[in-house]
């Protein structure tokens, strides 16, 4: 299970240029960084560039980390700012329009909270029971959306039971996330 203590140890090891620790740290948060970039609307190529720059800036900032538990938020904020920067650069190249580059949301807004929550979700989901994992996957993570009737058949319950089962599974997920939060 991921814990803040793990992050603290990894960060300390990364400061000493421990390659294994760096690989573990990037593997743990690469989905968070890349998905944060995707959710700003940038194209995939630009998201890849931002992803690389974020990890470089993190390495440069390792000595300034005072609270390892805030690392996910630092990664989200930095990724979003660099995405705005990247998008603005592209816009300037196209039509030379001057724009305000800086992301005006240094505080925790809904998207940052949702992304932090999504990171904790990715850590908590594998710890759910098979039935709940399957239900939440079918309800939320499939594109195109799976019809309720099909979800009910796959899970083996009546259509009318999906709502309450969904609430229970989300409740379990919330409890699991509380401890990693």
């Amino acid at each position: 299970m991921v814990s803040a203590t793990d992050d603290a140890a990894l960060i300390a090891a990364c400061r000493d240029r421990d390659e294994d620790a760096w690989r573990t740290l990037t593997a743990r948060y690469e989905n968070l960084v890349y998905s944060t970039a995707l959710n700003t609307g940038l194209d995939r190529e630009s998201c890849g560039d931002v992803h690389q720059q974020v990890w470089l800036e993190l390495y440069r900032s390792l000595h300034r980390i005072e609270e390892p538990r805030a690392l996910p938020r630092w990664l989200i904020v930095t990724t979003r700012r660099l995405c705005y920067r990247q998008a603005a650069k592209h816009r300037r190249l196209v039509d030379e329009v001057e724009v305000d580059l800086v992301d005006p949301t240094p505080r925790a807004d809904d998207t940052i909270l949702a992304l932090e929550r999504r990171q904790r979700l990715s850590e908590a989901l594998p710890r759910l029971g098979r039935r709940c994992r399957e239900l939440l996957d079918l309800l939320f993570l499939r594109e195109p959306k799976v019809p309720y009737r099909q979800v009910a058949r796959r899970i083996g319950v009546a259509v009318g039971s999906i709502g309450s089962l969904r609430a229970r599974c989300l409740e379990q997920l919330r409890l699991l996330m509380e401890e990693s939060g």
């Binding site: 998201c47 890849g48 800086v102 229970r168 509380e178």
Partner: protein, 160 residues
């Protein structure tokens, strides 16, 4: 935050785009960067605008809590958190039991140490409970639901 808001927020988080970077992107950060040769942001002054000054914000984060586990059985899920005693206090076992059937009878919880029953409690489906006891190295919590086979979670010290 109310449960419905909580569920809404969870649903929103689940609905966010969430993808692993392609292997080509992953490969670019697989090794510790060489900061000497790596491209810098425009200048030290402008870099300040893009990178937060430090990594803090502990006040926004919940304190670490003891381990919570969800145990999945054929007809129910049992979530348990075991809190070790502080000083002269007792062990605390907190949790909830969710029965997969929507309509279900009351549940009986039986906390055991070997052949000894330490506590018996009746709870409803999904209702939070807390048991306080002096626990030894090995204990178990049995969940009895009508005439179904009991569900047994084995515990050891501070774990379940």
């Amino acid at each position: 935050m109310s449960d419905s808001h909580e569920h809404e927020a969870l649903g929103r988080a689940l609905g966010l785009r969430w993808e692993a970077p392609p292997s080509s992107v992953r490969h670019r950060v697989a090794k510790l960067p060489d900061v000497e040769s790596a491209p810098a942001l425009d200048s030290p002054e402008t870099a300040e605008r893009w990178v937060p000054e430090d990594v803090r914000g502990a006040d926004l984060l919940a304190p670490a809590t003891p381990s919570l586990r969800v145990h999945s059985f054929s007809y129910a899920d049992v979530a348990l958190r075991v809190l070790p005693p502080a000083g002269q206090e007792l062990w605390r076992i907190q949790g909830r039991v969710w029965i997969h059937d929507v309509e279900s009878a009351p549940l009986r919880l039986v906390l055991c140490q070997g052949d000894h029953v330490l506590d018996v409690r009746e709870v409803s489906d999904g209702e939070p409970f807390e048991l306080q006891e002096t626990l030894g190295e090995r204990w178990s919590l049995e969940v009895h639901v009508e005439d179904r086979p009991p569900l047994i979670v084995e515990g050891s010290g501070g774990h379940a």
